[in-house]
Amino acid sequence: MVGNGGKAGRYEFDETDRRILELLKVNGRATNQKIARLLKISAATVSARIRQMEDAKAMKVIAATDFSAFGYNILIAIGVEVQGRPAEDVAQELAKLSQILSINLVTGAKDIEILLAVHEFSELSDFLLNDIAAIRGIRSLSPAIAVDTVKFDFDIAPLS
């Protein structure tokens, strides 16, 4: 959850945690022994800290895969306007659609921001005419098709 953190929001990273994380952000598969050697601490400490951060849902080492590894060649950021229904209810229904990778309720001209991924443009007809059409309260969709990603940092995220 953005802003209020939840349980993970209370974890306090200390200096040792941050030094371990700096190494794991560069190489998530660095062994405990290697991290221990570089930081001049024991491998048992490294292992315990990693487990502690993972248990608190403050950190998770991931194998991040590019959208294209799954054939998602088209990414579209869509601003959704809602009418006559709570935006959160509409967002909950959108969350069930597998093509939608992220959903945020937002302030401003749009009510919901979603990121949609499809393999090819022909999939959009099913998405619009079946999936979206079945959700009550969507007034309009304003798309922006991704054509070039200049930067995409993913090492800080909600962990739940």
Partner: protein, 163 residues
């Protein structure tokens, strides 16, 4: 040059890594009934081809539970690339995506205070040559996010593996 396309075996490896990204090459090899060298080779290729990265994702508390901010930037069409590159260098910016549609650039940032949002969106970005308009919206609730799917934009830096 055609880019390497993942085969079924690559996807099997990714599936194993999805449950534990720190599993040793030896254990992945055991699980899939192949040699350790095969796994090492596949992981190297997937990373070199920018399909895969191993990293520690930290919770939002790492940045003090920041505001997640979307900034839609409208810029002169001929200057979109230079504007996007300038924005990518600014503080707190997480993503910069050039788009075709309701704006030219979608910017995602994380900021501790509204003052920082003002400094970046309304002062720094708006002042860039070629920028016509910025539209800022702040996430009040995130309902869905997949940490394991991303756009890999940073070059692969090989590290010596002493497993």
């Amino acid at each position: 040059m055609t880019k390497y396309q993942l085969d079924t075996f690559d996807h099997q490896i990714l599936k194993v890594l999805a449950s534990d990204a720190r599993l040793s090459n030896r254990k992945i090899a055991q699980a899939l009934g192949v040699t350790e060298g095969t796994i090492r080779g596949r992981l190297k290729r997937l990373q070199e081809e920018n399909y895969l990265r191993f990293t520690a994702v930290t919770a939002l508390s790492y940045l003090g539970n920041p505001l997640l901010v979307f900034i839609g930037v409208t810029a002169e069409q001929g200057r979109v690339k230079e504007v996007a590159q300038a924005i990518a260098e600014m503080g707190g910016i997480r993503s910069v995506i050039i788009t075709l549609g309701r704006f030219n650039i979608l910017v995602v940032g994380m900021y501790g205070t509204l003052q920082e949002v003002l400094d970046v969106a309304n002062n720094s970005i708006l002042a860039l040559p070629g920028v016509r308009h910025v539209e800022t919206s702040i996430s009040v609730k995130q309902l869905k996010y997949d940490t394991r799917l991303a756009k890999i934009t940073r070059p692969f830096v090989p590290v010596d593996d002493d497993e």
